[in-house]
């Protein structure tokens, strides 16, 4: 009889990774949802709200699985609404303020290009539940990328004003892209076990998507200088606190409130 000798995946690493993934989707989803009712056109308003809802839906799946793996009885809602800032593990890019519409789209594009590659790769995860969520998310993320990429090109290669704004957005956000490919013991352990791709393995694909798009958008790719990081280990900018204040208000003021 053949025994299944595959070692169990390190559960605490799995939990840490899922929280990082879930928090990225949650914080970006919240940021994008801030545009609801404020977008420059009705059609864009609905499109951005759809993106926000997709991301929050993905959050539910990632944080739900994280809670299950942690085994302490915490639900996705508990993780989203009852943690403090230092316990959040999203990268700093997603908590950057929305700025103007162009800056929101530039942030979305830089994130989507990475998110797309990650979801694509995670469909081959050795952890079945991760592969299943990634398969569902991939279709949504592929559309997010198609849309943000298209708009970055249109606005970059648009009027003088839109070009200027897109270049400024790119310059401002670029130092936050390094954290997309950062790794520590969590990623080392999980990539060695075939659960996730190594973050660095996504870099060349991302560079290609970004370079092609930016050149089509007639935008100048900034040099890789100093890269901000810290969100992945709970060291955030002051912006996260404001996001959580708004997002968590109800559960903090009326603990356990349901509808």
């Amino acid at each position: 009889m053949e025994l299944d000798l595959k070692p169990a995946v390190d559960q605490s690493a799995l939990f840490a990774f899922l929280v990082r993934l879930g928090d990225n989707a949650l914080i970006l989803g919240h940021r994008v949802s801030e545009w609801c009712g404020h977008s420059p056109a009705l059609e864009e308003d609905i499109a951005l709200s759809n993106t926000a809802l997709d991301l929050i839906g993905q959050t539910q799946l990632w944080l739900g699985l994280a809670g299950e793996i942690e085994g302490q009885g915490r639900s996705a809602d508990d993780l989203a609404y009852l943690r403090d800032g230092y316990e959040f593990r999203n990268i700093l890019l997603v908590e950057r303020p929305n700025g103007d519409f162009g800056k929101t789209l530039m942030r979305q594009f830089l994130f989507d290009a990475w998110h797309y590659l990650l979801m694509k790769a995670l469909q081959n995860s050795s952890e079945r539940r991760i592969a299943e969520i990634a398969e569902k998310a991939f279709k949504e993320v592929a559309y997010h990328l198609e849309r943000s990429q298209d708009l970055v090109i249109r606005l970059g290669d648009g009027t003088d004003e839109s070009h200027r704004r897109m270049q400024a957005a790119l310059n401002d956000l670029w130092p936050y892209t390094g954290e997309l490919f950062a790794s520590d013991d969590v990623e080392q352990t999980l990539s060695a076990a075939g659960v996730i791709p190594h973050p660095q393995s996504l870099k060349s694909g991302w560079d290609e998507i970004v370079s092609t798009t930016l050149s089509e958008a007639t935008l100048q790719k900034p040099d890789d200088g100093y890269m901000h990081k810290g969100g992945r280990r709970g060291v955030h900018t002051e912006h996260l606190g404001f996001i959580l204040t708004e997002m968590q208000f109800l559960q903090r003021a009326y603990p356990g409130a349901v509808w």
Partner: protein, 94 residues
């Protein structure tokens, strides 16, 4: 000339085998974005398998003032309706 994006009429095919149906309109700078916007505005609840968009200005409509000459003459021609035939029971539902 206004700065507004042009208006597009949106047609969605709900299922394979059905015709595209007019579902509404929206604004977009060009056809490609009109399709994207239509996807976001009109297929959020799994309504479609295919989208057509056409510039509203490219649609030629019949004039309401010509309603009489256009449509009234067919009113009194009941013999154009296939209602004078007895359908044998064996045919069943048609």
């Amino acid at each position: 000339m206004s700065n507004e994006w042009p208006l597009w009429e949106v047609f969605i095919r709900g299922q394979h085998g059905l015709n595209h149906r007019h579902v509404g309109s929206l604004h977009a700078p060009d056809a490609e974005m009109a399709v994207n916007n239509a996807r976001d505005v009109y297929t959020r609840r799994n309504e479609g398998v295919s989208i057509w968009v056409v510039k509203s200005s490219d649609i030629t409509a019949s004039a309401p003032s010509e309603k009489g000459p256009l449509f009234d003459p067919s009113n009194s021609k009941v013999y154009r309706h296939p209602t004078f035939f007895e359908i044998p029971d064996e045919v069943g539902h048609m």
